[in-house]
Every structure is written in C-alpha cells, then in structure tokens.
Amino acid sequence: MTKVKTHLNRRSFLKLGAAGSAGLMLQFSWFSSLAMENPTMEGAWDLNGYIKIATDGTVTIASPNPEVGQNVKTSMPMIVAEELDVNWKDVLVEQAPLNTAIFTRQIAGGSNSIKESWDSLRMAGATARHMLVQAAAAAWKVPASEIDVTLGIISHEESGKNATFGEMASAASQIKVPTEVEVKNIKDFKIIRHSQKNVDGPGITTGKAVFGLDVYSENMVFASIVSPPAFGVKLKSFDASEALSMNGIYDVFTINAYPEDFERGRFDISAFPELIVITGDSTWRIMKAKKTIKAEWSAFDSYAVKFLGQDTKEQVPAGKESTENHYSEMIQKSKENAKQVRKDGNPEKAFSEATKVIERSYTAPYLAHSPLEPLNFYANVTADKAELIGPIQTPEYMEKSVARRLGMTLEQVDIQMTRIGGGFGRKLYGHYLLEAAVISQKIKRPVKLMYTREDDMTFGAYRPTYQASFRAALDKDNNMIAFHVKTGGIPESPLYANRFPAGTVDNYLAESWAIESNITTAAFRAPRSNFMGAVEQSFLDEVAELAGKDPIDFRLELFDRAIKNPVGKNNDYEANRYAGVLKLVREKSNWETPKPGISRGVAAYYCHNSYVASVVDLRMEEGKPIIENVYCGVDCGIVVNPIAASNMVEGGSVDGIGHALYSLLTIKDGVPQQSNYNDYHLIRNNDAPRDVEVHFVDSDIHPTGLGEPPFAPAIAALANALYKDTGKRYYHQPFMVDIESMYLQEKESV
C-alpha cells in the first residue's frame, strides 16, 4: 500500500459542519503544486472535493470540476468511490458548488481534471474509509486492522459483526481526521479501470439534464446583444425606435462590460467592450426586434487593455483586417528573421553538407469553436448578491472578474455550474457571464443572456491562424541530421520547441514569430498542438519517404536515439512511451498489410501529458474521402473509465479530422464571412469515419487526460493517408479546398 499525507485537519473538517446526526460529511483540502501543461494558464491550483454519507446509507460524491462532455462527473467520483470501497451502484453524484474557500482548480481545461485530482480524490475516499473503520473498531472494541470493508459493508470476521456505512457515518464523523492514510494498491482496483456509464446518461436521453440554456426563473428578463458587425469598429450611435415599438420589447441600451480602466483576468477576452443590449419578454421577440436596430459604427484607434498582475498594458491594434492579407503577412514574416527559441548543434552547417534537403510550409485558418450550446448565462444581481448560473469552464476565474466588475466581494458572487453543452475552449472565456451580470445589475432584474448562433460565431473568439515552415536534412545513409522549424501565427506562435523531434537529431533549430491583431482568439481544443502536431507529423511523413523508410520505422529509429542518447536538455516527452503507442497502433491496425483498396497514413503526437498514435484508413469516392477506420494507440497512464476514455479518443479523432477537412472561418474587412452552420462547415454523420478503434497501453502510471491529445495525430494521419490515395500532399487546411479543386480539374480534363 502507498501512504499519502492527507493535509486535513480537524478545523477544516468541522468547518463544513460534520453534523453528527446527519452523518459524515468529509471535506478535504490541500495544495497541488502541479501547474497546468499549457504555459499560458499560469500558476498552480488546489483541488478539493467532498463525500456525504447520510445515516440512511446514501453516499453522495461531489464532482468538483465543470462537466463539458469530458465525463469527469462520472470519472472523478469513481476515483473517490474506489478508495471508499463503496458499491458504485449505491453512489449518487452531484455537481459540487464553486467555492474558492474550499475548492480550487475547478476548471475544465488543459485535459487536466483527472491528472491534477488523482491523488486528492483517492485521498478523499481513503480518508473517509479510514474514519468509518476507526468508528467500527471503537464500537465493536476490536482492532481496526482486523476490519474489512467491501462494497459499503464494514465487517469483522471473528466477532461476526457488520455495519453499513450509514450506520457508522455518525460515529465516523467524530473520529480524528488522520494525518496520512493508505491508498489501495493499483492492482486491487474494482471500480477504476472498469467501465462505468455516464451518471447523467438517463437525464440526457430523456431531456432532463440541465444545461446553461435551460435555466429559467419566473420573473426573469430575456436579453440579447447586438454585437458590432466587424472587428476594428466601435459603437458611434444607434436608433432602436422600431424595436422599442414592437410587442414584448422592454428596452434597448448599451453596456460597457469591460471599461478601459478595468483590470481583466486571464480569461477576460472581449473584442467589443461596449455592446448594445436588447431586453424583452421572450427569446423570439428579441431575436426579431434586434434585427431592426440601426447602429452606426466607426473605426477605432489603437487602444490598451489592462490585465491583472501585468505591468504593461496590451495594445489592441486599429484596422479592419482580412484573411487574404493575413496569409501574405504570414508568408512575409516566415521569410524574415525570427526569435530563436532552441538550437542544438550547428544546423546551418548540417544543411549545407546534407545529401538531401526537404523544405515545406503549412497553414491553418481561424476556426470557430461553435459549441452547439451557444454562449449564455443567467444572472440575478441584487444589492448584496450576484447569483450566476450557466455553462463556464473557468468559474473560479470568472468569480473574481465579476466581483471586481460589480464591486462585490468574492463571497457575494455565487456561480453555479450546469452541464456545459460543449466548450472546446470557448467557454473558458466568460465575458458572456460577466455581461449577463452587468445587465442584471443595471436593470435590477434577473436576466438570461443568450447569444444567437450568429452572435456566437461572429463575436469571436477563434482558434488563431497559423503558418509553419520546416526543413530537414538527410545524410548519404538517409539519417536525419538536421531539423528546422520556423513557425508563427496571428496573434500567437504555436511553437513547442522542446517537443519531438527535438532530442532525436544532432542539429536542431526552432524559431518563432507572431503578428498582432484585433481579432480575438481563444484556446481551442489542444491549443497550438492542434496545428503543430498535425503539420510536424505530415512533414515527417515526407521526410521518411525521402529517406526511403517506413514512416513508423523512421519514427521508431528517432525515438531509439532519444532513449539511448538524447540530444540537448528539456526534451518534453518520454521517448519510450511515444514509441509504445506507435508499436501498439502498428500491431492493432495490422500496419504492414492494409485492406485492399484502402490507403493509410500514420502519425503520433504527445501533448497534454498523453500519447496518441493514429492510423487512418480511407478511400476516395467521387472526390470525397470515405474514412473507413481510425485506429488509435493511446498511453494516458491508468485508464480510469475505459468506456468514457474511449469515447473521448473517438470524438477527438473525428473532431480533428472534421476540422482539418472542412472548417474555415475567414475575415474580410474585419467582417467574419461565416455566421452559422449553413456556411461554416462542421463534420457531419455522413462525412465521419465509419469506425474508430481505440487501444490503450496497459499502464500503472499516474493517469493523464484525453480531451485534447487525440486531435492532432488524427489530422496528420488523415493528411498522410490522403497523399497515399491522391498522390498529392496537403499543406493547407481545410484540405477539402484542394481536394475539391483537384477533383474538378480532373473531371474537366476527362
């Protein structure tokens, strides 16, 4: 058994009100020093959770983190239940409240929920189990070491005594909280590693599960925003006389959600600080009336935005930008000097002495996150309290922003988490929550703010647009002797300089650049990795081909080098685990012998602490790829809940493939050119891979997340498979633009 320190004390235990007659309520609190992988999310977070055992035997386990589809509402309580030794069928799960005094790191982001909470959730269960056993030992006057706990029954074999958790809960609440407890040996897991269905499955399939959009109160006002028509403009004036004459419209006014002197938090992005708001008695009436509002907008001058804890303000540039110009600016920038981030050996010498050199460039466009549940929040702000209910990935960040903006204390701000109808990073940025709070404070009524799909898609923020140029050099024996990546984007560079193939090649150079913009962007599923993983792994497929090597063998040779004799320091991956997923997918896909008529491609990537290798099998049919299968080899350490973990990898793979094939958000003179699902193409059922087969590496390593890691390797495996079939490489996302034009050319030439 492994002993873990509990960091619990009597005071923190009692603070929550153990309430003897009501049973045992355990609260645990400790500090986790592990920072999130994504460096832009700085700092470290605590994590807390709690168990309630009622005297009637009901065991309620709270799930601390926002549920955005990653299924933590099932998997986090499973970890607690495992150590508690309760029967999973007897567990009720509830969404924990946001309480920064007790809970911390209540965030859905960075694929980090399970990784960051693993020890804490285990300790919570083990601590409660320990106290129940101690209570039984005292009651039965037997040594605690002789007591067994199985499926929620406490028993002592020799005396024949036994009790349910409910019967011991009250006594257990009086037991001294241990300073350390034993957690289980991993091989003894009975709940973890065994598939448990989504606890909200019955609610979701009957329409009863509550999402943010489903929050209604009796006297609330419906509200909608009229956002500016373009990036780069601000409100000059507006005429709402027609709207105000329409049935059910209460008012049209402006709010300044983010005043110039407001110190924004990490997730307070907003391209449009001042907004027109319309309120009314129903959603449909305000949707109709807002279209009649005539507003004048004028170009703004560059202005500065203050962020909390930053000495210098961030400058927002003026101008109406266009995708067309963005691409030419990126290409220009890729030819200029850039910031050197990592250099090993002497790359220029190696390139000049190489037998073969290959150089390729890649781009990817803006993407709209477009979760199906649009941005929305319910707010009821009174003189002394702000009650906010809805979908938010970063409730603890937004609690602070709202408190500052409304002039309230943190205790006065109560954010309640509903299920989130998709986020993909978009709902990390809670400006919509803050806007709802500002509206409610202004009109002194409860309000439900809903963005229409068009508002959601055109307001920003987007996945940044990126460009990358790669060079690789081979010697006469086809060994890769130099690798050069130079990459950037608008407004950020996607570079991870210490990732593969850094560490596997003697001469390595990584350079970075960025172009500023007034188009707001936001972390999008596997931020930056969603591009870098895809293009790096496409490029390496070409390098392997140039070297005359099988793409898996080529990578395994590189990992072998990194295992035996790594180059440089701070290589950000474990080469043996990387090689492991490739070997697994090679075996499971029967790599050497693809099915007749099928073209296949492979890729592997490490991000957000997990390793995924993908093989895509496809064939072309009338200019359209039919993806027959995606095979995934995955190493995320211990697989907490296999059926849900597999679901994440299946969805992440299809999502990556869908965006790389179809999705495109363009800007012209500051105006987003796509605004709804009729012109913004998301992958649909008929385009989706026919099957996704997921295989996990059997591992006892501390578990890591799966929301993000499958996304990028699926894209590269797709691109590499498309090359096998069409004989053409795909350098620019979305690939369907090239695929369609090629298909049309072929048809015309026949």
Binding site: K197, F211, L372, G422, N685
Partner: protein, 152 residues
C-alpha cells in the same frame, strides 16, 4: 399575437404568442419543456428536433401558425420512463459526451426507425446527417441505432 392550441406529449395547451414564433420557443419559453434545444435557428444542426405527427421536424424553423391540428412529441414525451429502444440503446453504448445534441439525435433516430425498422448503415448516415454532434460521437450514435433497430 394570437392564442394557439397546441398538443404536446398528449396534453393540450393554450399559448398566446406571435404567429411567427417557432415551435422551439413555444416549447421552451412558454411551456418550459427544455429538453428540446436551440443550436442554429435555421434548421441546420438538428438539436431542436421534435416529432410532428410522428415526423421529425426542426422546431426552430417551424412557426406555430403552420401547426394546424398536428400533435407534437418532444424528448420528454418519447417514452413514459426513458425506455424507448433508442433511449435504451443510447445508454447501452454510452453515447453522450456533452449531451446537448443528443435529444435531437434521439428524436431523429426514433423517427427513422418508425419508418424503417431495419435501416442499412448508409440509410442511417443519411437520415442522421442533419444532426450535428459537435463532440463527434457519430460512430456511437450509429451503433446505438443498429442496436435499437433490433428491438423495434
């Protein structure tokens, strides 16, 4: 404004709304039947799917004035206790991720199986193509429909 009589899940309601109000917003804002979702407002994503006399329609783009005497069934009324074969198959395959689109997926699937109790893979994909799942659970959706078909 006008008073409309609307039969939802076997119960008749009188609602006083604008004649162009989509059924979606009558269900949500007036009747507080919240299982039917809003996603796009232009019948392009399928999250608002309900049955109108058994046929799957996009309630976000179907005005109440066009309803005549047809009966509406929403996800809340698909079965008494969540045990329609499609609902059961959804649980068996643990289909949902975020879950927001799933009521619409289930309503489209149930309508498909009413009309074709043994659809081919191709027929399933085509019938379900109007329902976006942003979490991309398509392979599980299609497997669940196959399972449900066996019970229909």
């Amino acid at each position: 404004m006008a008073v409309y009589s609307i039969n939802v899940n076997g119960t008749t309601h009188q609602v006083d709304v604008d004649s162009d109000t989509p059924i979606l917003w009558v269900l949500r804002d007036n009747l507080r039947l919240l299982g039917t979702k809003y996603g796009c407002g232009i019948a392009h994503c399928g999250v608002c799917t309900v049955h109108l006399d058994g046929e799957a329609i996009r309630s976000c783009a179907y005005p109440i004035s066009a309803i005549e005497n047809k009966k509406i069934v929403t996800i809340e009324g698909l079965s008494e206790s969540g045990d329609h074969p499609v609902q059961k198959a959804w649980i068996e395959h643990d289909v949902p991720q975020c879950g927001y689109c799933q009521a619409g997926q289930i309503m489209t699937a149930a309508s498909l199986l009413e009309q074709n109790s043994n659809p081919s893979d191709d027929e399933i994909r085509r019938a379900m193509n109007g329902n976006i799942c942003r979490c991309a659970t398509y392979t599980r959706i299609n497997r669940a429909i196959k399972t449900a078909a066996k019970e229909m």
